[in-house]
């Protein structure tokens, strides 16, 4: 699964795309790990931009749960943005809406994390 990433001031935006299920959840975890480590080191926050995520299974949700746990343990703030309607419904049914703060757009998430990150986003 491609994991595009871009830093806005102290907020790192990660954008998984496609389907996240049993077949690729481990590689997603491996791709995510260095970003979590870097954020812990840099005291940066993470926005998971899910606009490109078409589907997530229970195995994929587990990856998000592990990321949330690791972020909490390392005092990293991690939030979600731009979920497609199907993924948003799955998050709701699985009660992952109680695990992550979710925002309609990446800009909204960045603004909630840091005005400087939102300003950086606005500058393009």
């Amino acid at each position: 699964m491609p994991l595009a990433h871009k830093l806005y001031d102290t907020a790192l935006v990660l954008a998984p795309a496609g389907r996240l299920d049993h077949d690729n959840c481990e590689s997603f975890r491996e791709d995510l790990a260095p970003h979590l480590e870097r954020s812990a080191k840099d005291s940066s926050s993470i926005v998971l931009d899910l606009s490109g995520l078409e589907y997530v299974s229970s195995a994929g949700l587990r990856c998000f749960m592990l990321a949330a746990k690791q972020a909490k343990a390392q005092n990293i703030r991690i939030v979600i943005a731009s979920m497609q309607p199907v993924v948003a419904e799955i998050f709701q049914i699985a009660r992952f809406n109680l695990v992550f703060e979710a925002y309609p757009k990446v800009r909204d998430a960045l603004a909630a994390l840091s005005p400087a990150a939102a300003a950086d986003f606005d500058r393009g």
Binding site: H22, Y55, S57, S58, A59, L61, R62, M65, K69, V86, E89, I90, Q92, I93, A94, R95, F96, L98, V99
Partner: protein, 318 residues
């Protein structure tokens, strides 16, 4: 085959409170909006057709007890939770004085799954044969222990029925009164076991108090084989997925999401959510059912999976 649910609640029996009943009646009256009914039949029909199940009924509160009616002379029942008391009354009424043979299949011996046995009427009737099947070496010990002083006034040895404990082995099928029964080991504190019941052209799986670790592909594949093309799977869906894999990980229970995924992989026809969280009220369970049906719709492949939520008194023909 007919599956009849006598107890569907997880962990501990629950009962509606007087305030719960008052609230249901008040909302039902409001919904009726001044309508009048000429007979009790009309009122029943209105309740069935126009009110939410959670308003006009209750999912119920007995702990696990599920009967499998096979069309044969002997009774089959999974677990002896508090639902065993009304099940016992049903057996006695149906037998009308004739001695019964009851085959019990125990998922495990945690209290909520054995607590109904001291109140199981047929156990007090001479001539009744009760065969308690299970895979635990502590099976008989647990049944005797809960009736030992000072916990209960009637000791196990005083029961009049002819009671036999039958040890089964996970993965080994056994023919019992024309039904093929196969136990499967499950993940739960102290171990638990699911059962697959098969008659020609029909199959039913009872799988409760079973945790599924998403990272364990081998375990997932084993359960997909165990559920394979079953007509009906009664599944422990006690927690939300988020709870099951975080704060309640290793508590030995599963979620509606995992139930749907496993049943879809196994091409099961009908999934029944079971072992309801005792903290959930009727409206919450109905909400979980509605969401689970939606999740099934969102993730459906080529075959639709029917989804129901068990309630005390539910009967499903397989």
């Amino acid at each position: 085959m007919r599956v009849r649910f006598w107890g569907t609640r997880g962990s501990i029996p629950v009962a509606l409170t007087s305030a719960d009943i008052r609230d249901k009646i008040a909302v039902a009256l409001m919904r009726a909006g001044g309508r009048s009914f000429g007979s009790i039949g009309e009122a029943y029909a209105y309740a069935e057709q126009h009110l939410d199940f959670s308003l006009s009924h209750t999912f119920g509160g007995h702990s696990a007890c599920v009967e499998l009616e096979t069309g044969r002379d002997e009774y089959f029942v999974c677990d002896m939770g508090s639902g065993a008391r009304p099940f016992g009354a049903h057996v006695l009424a149906r037998q009308a004085g004739r001695p019964a043979t009851v085959n019990v299949f125990m998922s495990h011996v945690h209290w909520d799954h054995i607590m109904g046995f001291p109140f199981f009427g047929p156990a007090y009737v001479t001539g009744t044969r009760i065969r308690i099947h299970g895979c635990h070496d502590v099976l008989e010990h647990a049944f005797r222990l809960q009736q030992a002083p000072p916990c209960f006034p009637v000791e196990f040895a005083q029961l009049s029925a002819d009671i036999e404990f039958v040890r089964l082995t996970p993965g080994e099928a056994r023919e019992i009164c024309g039904i093929r029964v196969t136990p499967a080991a499950q993940m739960h504190s102290g171990d638990s076991f699911g059962y697959r019941f098969e008659a020609p052209g029909k199959s039913f799986v009872y799988t409760t108090d079973s945790e599924h670790k998403l990272e364990n592909r081998a375990q997932t594949e084993r359960f997909v084989r165990f559920f394979h093309e079953a007509d009906l799977v009664v599944f422990d869906a006690m927690y939300s997925l988020a709870d099951a894999i975080s704060v309640k990980a290793d508590w030995g229970h599963s979620s509606n999401i995992i139930g749907v995924e496993l049943c879809q992989m196994a091409r099961v026809k009908h999934l029944v959510l079971f072992h309801h969280e005792p903290a959930y009220d009727d409206s919450t369970i109905e909400g979980v059912l509605r969401e689970t049906r939606r999740f099934e719709e969102l993730t459906r492949g080529t075959q639709a999976l029917q989804v129901s939520a068990a309630y005390d008194g539910l009967e499903i023909d397989v």
